[in-house]
């Protein structure tokens, strides 16, 4: 290959990117399904099982195993939550397989979810659901799931490439199939091309291009940026879910943006403006207990109205429930706040809406196959299952269900995908050049650029959007992209160089940010997480369409495709006749 920069090669049969719920389940199922001797490799940006958002899941996992609940009911809630935009076949499979997956997690993987005194699974009520459906392990559900999955994977013959960052999906020269994935071995700084017969992308989205965001620190939309560069179609890219209560502790601390859990509002916490007034009833009769999108907009509106320069966000106040009660009910949250200097039980803690989850993603079929041979996508990287909004508890269900499916499908497909494929040398070279770019530029300040991108996205492409703001945002994001291309990094060694990876993160975030803004501009109505001040109505549900963005050359094109109501149409339900609308006392 005509290159000055060396790269190493590695071949495997099944390559999995990411070790969240999707990646680990894929590895496990691939190992269980594939013929003996199949090489399975899991490559991950951090340490296996110790990065990604699945580990951070607090609330729990939605599964229709609770009293009176049914897959049909879970499905209908998911469709309603998604404002009729979900791919119904994917949503159905999600709800149906969640039941199997939770049994598998308990019976085969070894997780223990909280129980009722009689020994049966405990289900709690999460907002937006018509049944008690969410299984959990205290408020640290993700740790239980990932630790147990990690043990299963670590104790099996699965090859590990830790601190390996995927930077490019490399197709075959004719572009008909995927050859492999270009990676950076972050520890040594070496490039490594890993060819595989089947590749799963499970890098987990993660909208960290917003000033306030919850996902784990290494997540930067790498997967979607790579898919975009390969020319794959992405859907629902305007759909960014904000969690209403992220901690606000200043720009200098990584604690800012992290989640204060939903349960605080659910159990009666107040949200107060800078004068100490409860404002949520101005926005919704349910007050603080309204759904995430409504509360996020309520807070955002309040923040805009607020003229006190010393206060950016609003306050959450729990003290009226009795500080000792609060300490007993939310020990983890109280301690976490105390560790960073805030008194949640007795005082006020400043909060802001914080970017939490990305509903958009690569267009896939319900078997996780993408538009190109050899590439599969699961978890937060895949679009379709959630539509305009994700129900709390459906995120981890989605990643574990579809990760498992991907593992099985890949293990079966490799019988067909026999040979390893040669890479397109030009694409490979271009990706390496792209990654090395900062070493050839005059040193600048990557972090400052990232802050600027985050401000732009928060201001112009955030909780509430307008055409003018989005257009301005698109222009400003392009400026950032331009500046980044000319910004170098001072440290020249490629080995374990976090600033290089900050640069690459920002490159991914900028690429995807543009797409979010363009998709948001294309959707001239308000559904779920997407709110247009200039088009506040949801539009005709029967004529629902979803956005599809695709890059060709340097331009991003957004088209619309009608939603196919394969299972249920707006206004209809698949619940049996006579079923109550909800089984929850106070939904």
């Amino acid at each position: 290959m005509p290159r000055s920069i060396e790269f190493e090669r590695h071949d495997t049969d099944i390559l999995i990117l990411g070790s969240g719920g999707a990646g680990l389940f894929a590895a496990l199922h691939a190992q269980q399904t594939a013929p003996a001797g199949t090489r399975i490799t899991i490559a991950v940006k951090g340490l296996l099982g110790k990065c990604g958002c699945t580990r951070m899941v607090q609330g729990g996992y939605n599964v229709a195993l609770g009293p009176g609940d049914s897959v049909e009911r879970h499905f209908m809630d998911t469709i309603h939550g998604g404002k009729w935009l979900p791919n119904q076949d994917m949503a159905w499979r999600l709800c149906e397989q969640a039941v199997v997956r939770v049994r598998e997690l308990e019976n085969e993987v070894g997780c223990v979810f909280d129980r009722n005194p009689d020994g049966s699974l405990h289900h709690k009520a999460f907002a937006g659901q018509t049944a008690d459906r969410t299984v959990h392990k205290g408020d640290l559900t993700g740790i239980e799931i990932i630790n147990r999955l990690m043990e299963q994977v670590l104790s099996r013959p699965v090859e590990r490439l830790q601190e390996h960052r995927a930077i490019g999906l490399i197709p075959t020269p004719d572009g008909a199939a995927l050859s492999g994935v270009l990676m950076i071995d972050m520890r040594s700084g070496a490039f490594r091309l890993v060819r595989a017969r089947a590749v799963l992308m499970a890098t987990g989205g993660g909208p960290s291009m917003y000033r306030y965001h919850t996902p784990s620190g290494e997540k930067a939309m790498d997967g979607l940026a790579m898919a975009l560069r390969l020319g794959l179609p992405l859907r629902d890219m305007e759909m960014v879910q904000f969690h209403p209560t992220g901690l606000l502790a200043g720009d200098h601390t990584r604690m800012t943006g992290t989640v204060l859990e939903e349960g605080l509002r659910g159990s009666g916490g107040y949200l107060l403006d800078h004068q100490g007034r409860r404002f949520m009833f101005d926005h919704d009769p349910r007050g603080e207990r309204a759904t995430r999108d409504v509360v996020s907009r309520g807070i955002y509106a309040e923040m805009r109205r607020n003229e006190n320069p010393d206060q950016l966000g609003v306050f959450i106040s729990m003290a009226h429930l009795g500080p000792d009660n609060v300490r007993r009910m939310f020990p983890g949250m109280v301690k976490r706040c105390a560790d960073c200097g805030f008194d949640l039980a007795g005082g006020l803690v400043e909060v802001v809406p914080t970017a939490h989850y990305f509903m958009g993603g690569v267009v896939v079929d319900p078997d996780t196959r993408s538009g190109i041979e050899g590439l599969y996508v699961a978890g937060e990287d895949a679009g379709g299952a959630h539509g305009a909004n994700r129900l709390g508890g459906n995120g981890v269900a989605n990643s574990t269900v579809y990760g498992g499916i991907a593992g099985e499908v890949m293990a079966r497909d490799i019988a067909r995908l026999r040979a390893l494929r040669e890479p397109d040398a030009a694409v490979l070279e271009a990706e390496i050049d792209r990654a090395l770019r900062p070493f050839a530029q005059p040193a600048g300040h990557v972090q400052e650029l990232r802050h600027r991108l985050q401000e732009i996205m928060w201001d112009d492409v955030g909780v509430m959007r307008t055409a003018a703001g989005l257009e301005r945002g698109i222009g400003r994001v392009a400026e950032i992209a331009g500046e980044l291309a000319g910004t170098g990094i001072a440290a020249q060694s490629r080995a374990f160089n976090p600033t290089w990876h900050d640069w690459l993160n920002l490159a991914s975030l900028t690429e995807v940010s543009e797409v979010i803004a363009r998709a948001a501009l294309a959707r001239e109505n308000s559904r779920g997480a997407h709110f247009r001040e200039d088009f506040p109505e949801p539009g005709d549900l029967d004529a629902s369409s979803f956005t599809v963005a695709r890059r060709s050359g340097d331009a991003v094109e957004v088209t619309r495709e009608p939603v196919r109501f394969t299972i249920v149409r707006p206004g209809e339900t698949i619940l049996p006749e006579g079923e109550p609308e909800t089984l929850v006392e106070n939904p």
Binding site: G217, T253, A495, P498
Partner: protein, 241 residues
């Protein structure tokens, strides 16, 4: 905070071969964690400072380092809690190979985790209903006591027996083994007891309690290991525990 608003931070730089401390001045802030300090140095002064974090809220256990001589999670350690005269000394976690600067290789730690039998062996399948487990049963309570470990390696770094005896499985893997011994659904309790009874097993623990004293999750590996010793001892005399 600081009189001059500055922290004096000494950071260990180097690799598995050699290293030394390097000094940095970092602006002090109100809500500042040790991880924020390290990040600030990387973002502003030393772009190639190697360190690791992920969740930033005490869930992933990636960010542990030695801060003023003590192993800690850094994302949830407030500077005010540990700084002495506005000084901080930050080094990589002890008892693990250093990759570079503040990042250690955690593979040996996880190898021990699996070596201690730390993996669930099923007796049911995904086609069976979920097993009933009474939350107040003594076994479940014992397992719950240690189940929230985030495998941060702080206890591993704090334990002098780990330092002295390279084969020793160490507190966190042994604690996981104890949760499995108490998990009535686990299909290989005997195998776990056998795994922790070898030359590097639980019997090497001297109950020095550094693990329990430093676990950021306030878990008690000391107690779990005592449980394993008792169980294996009784097991050797043919008594199921």
């Amino acid at each position: 905070m600081a009189d001059n608003g500055q922290l004096e931070v000494s950071v260990w730089r180097g690799d598995s071969g050699s290293g030394r401390f390097e000094s940095f001045r970092v602006p002090a802030e109100d809500n500042q964690t040790v991880l924020d300090v390290v990040s600030w140095i990387q973002q502003n002064l030393a772009g190639d400072l190697a360190y690791r974090f992920a969740c930033r809220v005490g869930m992933c256990g990636s960010c542990a380092m030695t801060v003023n001589g003590t192993p800690r999670w850094t994302c949830r350690t407030h500077v005010k809690k540990v700084a002495r005269n506005n000084r901080l000394t930050i080094a990589p976690l002890a008892n693990l190979p250093v990759i570079r600067d503040l990042a250690t290789d955690m593979d040996p730690f996880f190898a021990r985790w699996i070596g201690a039998g730390g993996r669930f062996v099923p007796q049911r399948t995904r086609d069976d209903p979920v097993a009933p487990v009474r939350p107040d049963s003594p076994g479940r309570q014992a397992a719950d006591a240690g189940i929230e470990c985030i495998n941060c390696g702080v206890c591993h770094a704090a334990c002098d027996t780990v330092a002295a005896s390279p084969d020793y499985l160490g507190p966190a893997p042994l604690q996981r083994a104890w949760t499995l011994v108490n998990d009535e659904r686990h299909g290989a309790r005997g195998a776990v007891l056998a795994a922790v009874s070898g030359a590097g097993g639980c019997h090497n623990c001297h109950s020095m309690g550094n693990c329990t004293a430093h676990c950021p999750k306030e878990l008690d590996p000391l107690r779990a290991i005592a449980g394993l010793k008792r169980a294996t001892f009784l097991g050797a005399f043919g008594k199921e525990i």
